[in-house]
Structures are given as structure tokens and as C-alpha cells.
């Protein structure tokens, strides 16, 4: 039973290779009658029987007209996907349990497209119209269950327009991915909080964690004044900031190792505090085994921390 899907996936991989922008062409569009289309054919058969039994030319005529319409619709349904360009359009991260949003841009290089459905059959397809020569962005939402990168795989794009008798579809791999953060868990802030600020050159006596020295860097507006490296300034080296020094400053340190419980639980607690402290615009540092972030504040810091939490221990490289 599992041979077939695997075979199909491999076949699709060859036929529609993953790319961040895919133009639908004849190799990529499949077409089949829908249930409605089959019912329509049965209705046509009934009409034909009526025409035969009553020897009625007009009934023949209407039957043939509708039958021809069915054939013509094949072209139109197919045309309603052909040439459409799909592009991955970034994503909005979510916490586990929320819906992640993935953006897909539909671009029409020529004529307009009506009622193009996009999404994953399990979570429902979104219906959009693409104006002639225009672009439409669709936000697809997906439920999240695990932290890490959410890679929904191939997106189904389909169209039943104009008559709903046939469905043209394609499975497009736009390499869509959304980051899923751990689910925040309200708990006590991890102990081990702040370390006293060191005044000297920055040699650190904290046992493990010496490797966290980040050196001096140029001062940027917004850096706290107390972290300025005055000695270097007096030597005429310009304004430098002791970057590592702040690690042991008064800002709270969210330390993975200081927490108890299994990994996921600890990550969830850290996640809560990252969000909480960021909301209060309070600088903090995040200490995960093997990596340290901060101390810092601001949106970029928050995102970096959450990303680190999301990807911690997962053997995944960060996607674009």
C-alpha cells in the first residue's frame, strides 16, 4: 500500500522539481473529470436515450451540444491553470498549536485566472482570482504540532472553472517552510539570573562558558553607556563596546541548564520568558547548551532567541 505513494512522490519529483517559483505548463498540469462531470455524462446519456426513443432531432442536437461543451471545457479548465506562475512568498512563524501562515504569490503573465484553488486538501483550499497581468498573494494557514521547521511539502493548486465538470490540478513544491516556536509554558523564571558586571579586561571566571567571549565591537547608537570600553577609548581606539561583558551583567539570563524537566518542557518555559521579557522590552540573554544569545533586547533579538529555541537540537539547517 505504501509503495504507490512513494512511487508517485518520486515521479512527481522528476516531473515537477522543487523550486521557489514554478510556472505551470503542460508537463505539470493534470486533468480529470470530477464527480459532477461523471454525473453530467450520465445525464447526457439519459438525454441521448430520450432522443433515440423519441427520434427527436432537437433532443439529439442538445445532447450533442452539451457533449461538445464537455470537450471544450477540457481546454478551458486546463487553460485556467496553464501559464500561472506560483512563487513562495515567505511565511509567518507561529507557536505550536497556532496556525502558521505561508504566503504564496500567484502571478499571471497574461490573461486572468478565475477561481484557482490553492492549499492542502486536508486543511481546505483557498479560492482566489488572479487578474490579468497581476499578482495575488494567498496566505495559507496550517495547524502546527511540532516545533522546528514546518515543511508542508507540495501544495495542491487546482481549478474546476468554468463548469466544475473537470478538475485540473498540479502538486507544486515551492519549498515552503514556516518556523514553529515551542509552545510557551508559564513557569518560574529559571534561577541563575544575573551575574555581576566585571570591570576588568573581560577574562571570565565562570567555569564552563568561557568560549562565549565575543570580543569588542564598534559602538552603535542604542548600546548602553555602561558597556563602553573606556580604556580603549582613552587609547584612542574609538568607542568600543565590551560585548561579552554584558553577558554577566544585571540582565536576566535564561539558562536551559538551570531548568528541570525534559527538553521540550524546558524549551517551552524559556519560550514563555523570551516572549514575556521582550514584551516588557527588558534586555535578557538566552543560554542554550552550545549557544548563547544576548544579552540584548528588541525584535531582532526576540526572533533570534525564538528561532534558536525552535531549532534547538533539531538536525536542520536554517532555511532561507
Amino acid at each position: 500500500m505504501r509503495v504507490l505513494p512513494r512511487f508517485r512522490d518520486r515521479w512527481l519529483l522528476r516531473r515537477i522539481p522543487p523550486a521557489s517559483s514554478v510556472r505551470l505548463n503542460q508537463r505539470r498540469i493534470f486533468i480529470m473529470p470530477t464527480a459532477v462531470g461523471l454525473a453530467f455524462l450520465v445525464a447526457l446519456l439519459l438525454m441521448l436515450l430520450t432522443a433515440i426513443n423519441y427520434q427527436n432531432s432537437l433532443a439529439y442536437g442538445l445532447t450533442f451540444l452539451l457533449g461538445s461543451l464537455y470537450l471544450v471545457t477540457i481546454l478551458h479548465t486546463w487553460r485556467n491553470l496553464a501559464g500561472l506562475v506560483l512563487q513562495a512568498g515567505g511565511s509567518i512563524a507561529a507557536f505550536v498549536g497556532e496556525h502558521a501562515l505561508l504566503r504564496v504569490r500567484l502571478e499571471s503573465p497574461g490573461r486572468g485566472y478565475q477561481a484557482v484553488a490553492l492549499g492542502w486538501p486536508a486543511s481546505g483550499l483557498r479560492l482566489v482570482d488572479v487578474p490579468a497581468g497581476g499578482t495575488v498573494e494567498v496566505e495559507l494557514s496550517l495547524p502546527t504540532q511540532r516545533r522546528g521547521w514546518l515543511r508542508p511539502g507540495r501544495v495542491r493548486v487546482e481549478s474546476r472553472f468554468p463548469l466544475g465538470l473537470l478538475v485540473a490540478w498540479s502538486w507544486v513544491d515551492l519549498e515552503l517552510a514556516a518556523l514553529v516556536y515551542p509552545q510557551p509554558l508559564i513557569a518560574e523564571r529559571p534561577p541563575g539570573g544575573s551575574a555581576p558586571e566585571s570591570e576588568d579586561e573581560g577574562t571570565l571566571t565562570r567555569g564552563a562558558g568561557v568560549d562565549d567571549y565575543q570580543g569588542l565591537r564598534a559602538w552603535q547608537p542604542g548600546d548602553p553607556r555602561r558597556r563602553l570600553h573606556w580604556k580603549a577609548y582613552s587609547r584612542g581606539q574609538g568607542l568600543l563596546v565590551k560585548d561579552f561583558a554584558s553577558l554577566l551583567g544585571n540582565d536576566p539570563l535564561l539558562d536551559f541548564d538551570a531548568l528541570e524537566g525534559d527538553t521540550e518542557q524546558r524549551l517551552s518555559i524559556l519560550c514563555h520568558w523570551v516572549v514575556d521579557l521582550s514584551d516588557k522590552q527588558q534586555p535578557f540573554a538566552l543560554q542554550l547548551p552550545g549557544e548563547l544569545a544576548g544579552p540584548d533586547s528588541g525584535q531582532a533579538h526576540r526572533d533570534a532567541c525564538l528561532r534558536a529555541l525552535a531549532l534547538h537540537g533539531l538536525n536542520e539547517e536554517g532555511a532561507k
Binding site: I52, N53, L58, G61, L65, G67, L69, P109, R111
Partner: protein, 666 residues
């Protein structure tokens, strides 16, 4: 698309329109309460859409269904049969409207609608009805398209325009299918549309019957002759003979239903023609004496009339060859002679006495007939559509008292007298003459052309036809009923709307004849394009075709047509549908001719800046083009292709024309 998607407004509008259009042609045979039902259901559905009413509960639905069933039963007397079936279909079509809540329901409704259109053809299949039916079909398609459209599309006209364009694209395929799809004989018999209300000859004739028929301007049949149309006075279209007389009514004898071909000899030149008959509700066909038709169409009965197994309830086309001078049962006395002498025991004593007296003076049957015709000619007999009433001895009263009557009176009286004198005779009913249509070179015979004449039998000559009406009103035979009744102005007097009354208005008559000829063509070439007709037509065009070749040819033709349509739709010769891309490529080619070639992988802006340095004079135009291009392409800014092509034009204008070649060489 949730599990139960609702019905978009656009679709609902077109469904309501389609329902009106579908039901309209059915109104001629639907009970009136259907209109009330539709109005009720439609307004209910609109209220549901406006969220002012709820969908019916299931018990109400059941009640409505049962109510409709009873309604059909009471108005049609049954629940089976075509008429009742169609009423039920329409009732279901209407009731489904109220119940409809999902797209699936709407599709059921649309399919019911298509079927209702097909059933309307069984009642009326004229050219006008056929063209009209395109309207409900288009509306149904528009509703179907509306179901697929996203709910943002609210304007109804583009939807119906798309429906029309789809239909137009389907027409060539439809024509191919119509021509080549093999026609099968009926697979099983179904209830036919009843011939109720059909006017035409009946299987019996009382004195006033044909006169009544003569007030009807309806068409009886049309005939096309292979050669010239014969003169009017030879056009005696035979339908039935009446051999039994009960003192008042002439009727068909049971023996004339015997499918026993009587003996006859072909004499003279044959006359070939085809007849398209209107539904008559009777099994007999019309033909000139003595006819021969292809076996299977009809059989000749023992009294020389043609009869089918089934009554003619749909327009029927048949080919006939007739020998006008044939000799019928001339060699031996036929068995039917006894029937041709039958008279009631009593009644009409004066006529009987007169017959005996005449026979005494004229020994030979022919002399007797001549004497009778001379009597009609000499005495003041009067041809009229409104004869005065007669008593119980109808022949006596007509011959000796009123002296005025219609063709049935003359034919009946003459047959009576001949029989009383011992000469076998019978009344023949049919049509006489017809209207020549110069637009199509064919003959239209209407109900008012109905006629009755006499046939008598003489040894060695067989059956001889004679028309006593000719002696009284020769213009009836030579010109037609209108001229024969010119004096009393009674031609179609109670049908003021009939165009046939206004034949003296030249342009109107020309228009009427042309329209009639169009309808005749429709009947001959479209409605009668069935089994034989089709195989004959295909043989004429393609020679002998077997089923396999026909099937392959059909599929191949369809394939070619679809391929042509695909070419028209996709325009593969215009691969580059991306306007901005196309314009940029033209921009590139233009600059290349002036020496600025884009490197592989060089971005549009870098290329333009480099080109601007190479062509400093044209730099503003080049940079302006690239600015618009980038804005449209990458920043998704609004702007039309015209802006971009305008900018390109500026670049071209800025560049010196003659420079193109010289730099290109470098």
C-alpha cells in the same frame, strides 16, 4: 471550499432566470397551478437568500411533494404517461429550488433543467422553439459557471458572456456530431405526446365534417416533387375511403384495414415526390393515386390507401412514387364490390327512386355517371361552406330541397345514388390541390384543402375517380377554396389572424411563403434527419461508408476541431505572454544594435546603468525605461503596459536611427 458550500448570488440569479425560461415553453401543456407554485417557490428562495426566511423543514418538503403529486394526478388524471411525467418533472424542478442549499443541490436543479428543455422538444420542435431553447440552456450554463466562481464575482453579465462563448465554441463540434453520430431506431417504446387537439381528417365523415375542417388554416403536409409540380386538377391526395353508410355518417369499413395489396397495373409516367406530414393522430399517409412507398414506411391497404402501424404523432417524412393513370383492379371483380354496394335498409326514398329511374335511361355505368354529373352541373346547385340544415333523409333533402352543400354532400350523395343504381362506388377523403411555394418550389397543403370525391367501379376499367364538386364549383379544383368561396366571403372567416387570409397583400404573402419555406427546410433537413435520411445523405457525400470508417472519421474530425480550438485559445505562436518581459527584450535588442549588450546574468538596472554610460546622450530615456520596468516587475506597482511601451518609444526616439548598423558590426 467547506464541506457544504453555499450558492453564490450570481448563480442564484441565473438559476431563477433559467427556470422562467425553461418553464415558459411548457406552459402550453402545463396546468396553471404550476405558475403559482413557481412564483411561491421563487419568492421563498429569494427570501431565504436575504435571510428573511428559513429552509423548509423536512415534513413541509414531504407535504409539498405529495401535494404536487396530487395536483398532477387531479389535473392530468394519471401519474404515468408523457404529459403527467413532464408535469411531475417541472414540479420537481420548481420544488427543488426551495430546498436547494448546497452546490450539489444547485447542480441537481441545473441537470433537471436541461432535462426539462429536452422534454419541451417532444411537444414543440419548430425552428423557433429550437432557437428559443438556446436561451434557457445559456442561462443554465451561466448558473453552472456562477457556482464555480468565487463569491467576489457579483456581476451577472460576464458570467453569461462566458457561457455564450463556451456554447459558440461547442457549436462546430456539435454540428459534426449531429451529422455523423449514427442514428439508432427506438430502443423501446415510450409514451408519446398525445395527438389531442390535432385537426385533420377523421375515420368517418358526417356531412358537416369536412366543412368544419375547411375553416382551419393549419398545415396538413408539404410535398416536394422531383420534377415539376403537376397541375392543380391532378392533385387529389388520397387519405382514406369510406365504404359504410349508416344513413347519416360515412365511415371506413373494417376491410379497408386489411393489409392486402390490391391488384393494379402501372400505366404512364411515374411521379416521384417526398411528403413531410404534420402530426395527424391517424395512421394513414397522404399520396396521389396509385402510390408506392419504401417498405417499412407504410403498407398499402385493400382500398389503395397507405397506412402505418402507429398513428402519426410526430412530423413524418416519406418518399412516394405515384402512377396517376394506373389501372386499379381492372381485370377481375374485386371482393370489395359487395361492400361498395352497401346501403342502409331504408331512408332517402326519393333518391333511391330517382336512381332507379336514371338507371333505366342510362344502361351503361359510365352513362349513368355522366347523367349524374350533368345533373349537378345543370341544376342550380350551390357550393357553400355553410349549408342549410337538413332533416333525417340527408341525401333526399340535399338533392331535392336545399341544393347546396360542401364537397362531402356532393360526394356522399353521388355515391349513394350510384349504389342505389347498382354501381359499386365509395367516398374517398383526402386533400385536393395545395399552395405552390415559389420560394422553395414545393406544395403546402392545409386543412382547408380537405376534400371528398367519388370512386366507382366499372368492369375492364377498374376503379375510376370522379369529382362531383368540379361540376358545381370548378374553381374549387382549379384555383382553390378561397376562390370557390369568393362570393360568400367565408374563407377562414373566423380566423382573422391567419396570414393565409391576406394572400392578396403582396409583400406579406411573400414574407409568409418565405418563412414557410424556412420551416419546411428545418423539418426536412433537421427534424427528419434520422436513420434513412442520414445514411442516404452520407452516401451521397462520401459514397459507401461502413460503421468503422464512420466512427474513426467522427473521432478524427472531433480531434481536428479540438486541436484548432486549442490553437485559437492558447496561441502557442505567442509564447511570450509576459508583456513586460517582451518589452524588455525589445529594449535589449534595441540597445544591442547600438553596441550595448547585456552580459549573461546581468541585472536590468546594472545593464541600464552601463548602457547609460556608453550612450550618455540617451541616458535619461534608458534609465526612465528601467525605472518603470523595475517598478512594475519587482515592486508590484500599478501601471499599464502602455506606460512601459511609451518609455521604450522614448528610448528609440532618443537614439539616432542611422547609428544602428555601424555600431552593430563592431
Amino acid at each position: 471550499m467547506s464541506a457544504k458550500p453555499g450558492i453564490p448570488r450570481n448563480s442564484l440569479i441565473w438559476l431563477l432566470v433559467a427556470q422562467v425560461l425553461v418553464i415558459l415553453p411548457h406552459l402550453t401543456h402545463l396546468p396553471l397551478w404550476i405558475i403559482g407554485l413557481w412564483l411561491g417557490c421563487a419568492s421563498w428562495r429569494i427570501q431565504i437568500f436575504r435571510m428573511r426566511a428559513r429552509y423548509p423543514r423536512s415534513w413541509l418538503k414531504a407535504l409539498l411533494m405529495i401535494g404536487a403529486g396530487f395536483g398532477v394526478y387531479f389535473s392530468r388524471g394519471s401519474l404515468v404517461g408523457l404529459e403527467a411525467g413532464v408535469v411531475l418533472l417541472i414540479a420537481a424542478f420548481i420544488l427543488k429550488l426551495v430546498e436547494m442549499s448546497t452546490r450539489r443541490d444547485a447542480l441537481v436543479l441545473i441537470f433537471l433543467g436541461f432535462f426539462a428543455v429536452v422534454t419541451s422538444y417532444l411537444f414543440e420542435d419548430s425552428l423557433v422553439a429550437g432557437l428559443y431553447s438556446l436561451l434557457p440552456v445559456t442561462a443554465l450554463l451561466a448558473a453552472m459557471i456562477g457556482l464555480q466562481q468565487s463569491s467576489l464575482v457579483t456581476r451577472p453579465w460576464p458570467t453569461v458572456r462566458l457561457a455564450v462563448s463556451l456554447l459558440l465554441q461547442a457549436v462546430p463540434l456539435m454540428l459534426v456530431l449531429f451529422l455523423f453520430f449514427p442514428r439508432l431506431p427506438p430502443l423501446w417504446s415510450l409514451p408519446q405526446a398525445g395527438g389531442q387537439g390535432v385537426t385533420g381528417l377523421a375515420d368517418h365523415m358526417a356531412p358537416g365534417d369536412i366543412a368544419r375542417l375547411s375553416r382551419s388554416p393549419e398545415l396538413a403536409f408539404r410535398a416536394s416533387f422531383d420534377g415539376d409540380i403537376p397541375p392543380r386538377n391532378q392533385l387529389y391526395w388520397r387519405a382514406v375511403t369510406f365504404e359504410r353508410f349508416d344513413g347519416r355518417r360515412w365511415s371506413q369499413s373494417y376491410a379497408s384495414h386489411l393489409p392486402q395489396v390490391p391488384e393494379w397495373q402501372k400505366v404512364g409516367e411515374p411521379l416521384s415526390y417526398s411528403v413531410v406530414m404534420q402530426p395527424s393522430g391517424q395512421p394513414w399517409l397522404f399520396a396521389l393515386d396509385v402510390p408506392q412507398v419504401a417498405t417499412g414506411q407504410a403498407q398499402m391497404m385493400s382500398d389503395f390507401h397507405l397506412q402505418r402501424r402507429q398513428p402519426v404523432n410526430q412530423p413524418l417524412m416519406y418518399q412516394v412514387t405515384s402512377w396517376l393513370d394506373a389501372r386499379r383492379e381492372a381485370t377481375s371483380a374485386p371482393e370489395s364490390l359487395g361492400r361498395a354496394l352497401q346501403l342502409p335498409e331504408q331512408g332517402n326514398p326519393r333518391s333511391r327512386a330517382w336512381a332507379t329511374e336514371l338507371r333505366r335511361t342510362a344502361q351503361e355505368p359510365q352513362a349513368m355517371v355522366n347523367a349524374l354529373l350533368k345533373h349537378f352541373n345543370r341544376q342550380p346547385y350551390h357550393y357553400t361552406l355553410e349549408p342549410p340544415p337538413v332533416g333525417s333523409d340527408i341525401v333526399d333533402d340535399f338533392l331535392f330541397e336545399t341544393l347546396s352543400g360542401f364537397c362531402a354532400h356532393y360526394a356522399g350523395a353521388m355515391t349513394f345514388v350510384l349504389r342505389a343504381a347498382g354501381i359499386p362506388a365509395r367516398v374517398v377523403a383526402g386533400y385536393q390541390g395545395g399552395e405552390v411555394n415559389p420560394a422553395g418550389n414545393y406544395l403546402s397543403v392545409h386543412q382547408f384543402d380537405a376534400h371528398a370525391w367519388v370512386e366507382y367501379w366499372v368492369a375492364d376499367r377498374g376503379w375510376v375517380s370522379v369529382d362531383p364538386t368540379f361540376q358545381v364549383a370548378p374553381e374549387r379544383v382549379e384555383q382553390g377554396l378561397e376562390q370557390a368561396l369568393a362570393r360568400e366571403q367565408s374563407f377562414l372567416a373566423d380566423k382573422p389572424m391567419s396570414l393565409l387570409r391576406y394572400r392578396d397583400i403582396g409583400w406579406l404573402n411573400a414574407l409568409r411563403l418565405r418563412w414557410d419555406s424556412v420551416n419546411y427546410g428545418w423539418q426536412r433537413w433537421v427534424l427528419n434527419y434520422q436513420g434513412d435520411q442520414q445514411s442516404e445523405m452520407l452516401r451521397r457525400w462520401f459514397g459507401k461508408l461502413d460503421g468503422q470508417t464512420l466512427g474513426l472519421g467522427l473521432v478524427a474530425t472531433l480531434g481536428v476541431l479540438i486541436a484548432v480550438l486549442a490553437l485559437v485559445l492558447f496561441k502557442p505562436w505567442r509564447r511570450d505572454t509576459d508583456v513586460q518581459q517582451r518589452l524588455f527584450r525589445r529594449f535589449e535588442r534595441l540597445l544591442a544594435r547600438h553596441g550595448a549588450r547585456r552580459h549573461k546574468g546581468e541585472g536590468a538596472r546594472n545593464f541600464a546603468e552601463r548602457a547609460a554610460m556608453m550612450l550618455p546622450e540617451q541616458a535619461p530615456a534608458i534609465l526612465a525605461f528601467v525605472r518603470i520596468y523595475e517598478a512594475q516587475r519587482y515592486a508590484q506597482q500599478a501601471g499599464t503596459a502602455d506606460d512601459l511601451s511609451g518609455a521604450l518609444r522614448q528610448v528609440r526616439r532618443a537614439l539616432p536611427w542611422r547609428l544602428s548598423r555601424s555600431v552593430d558590426r563592431s
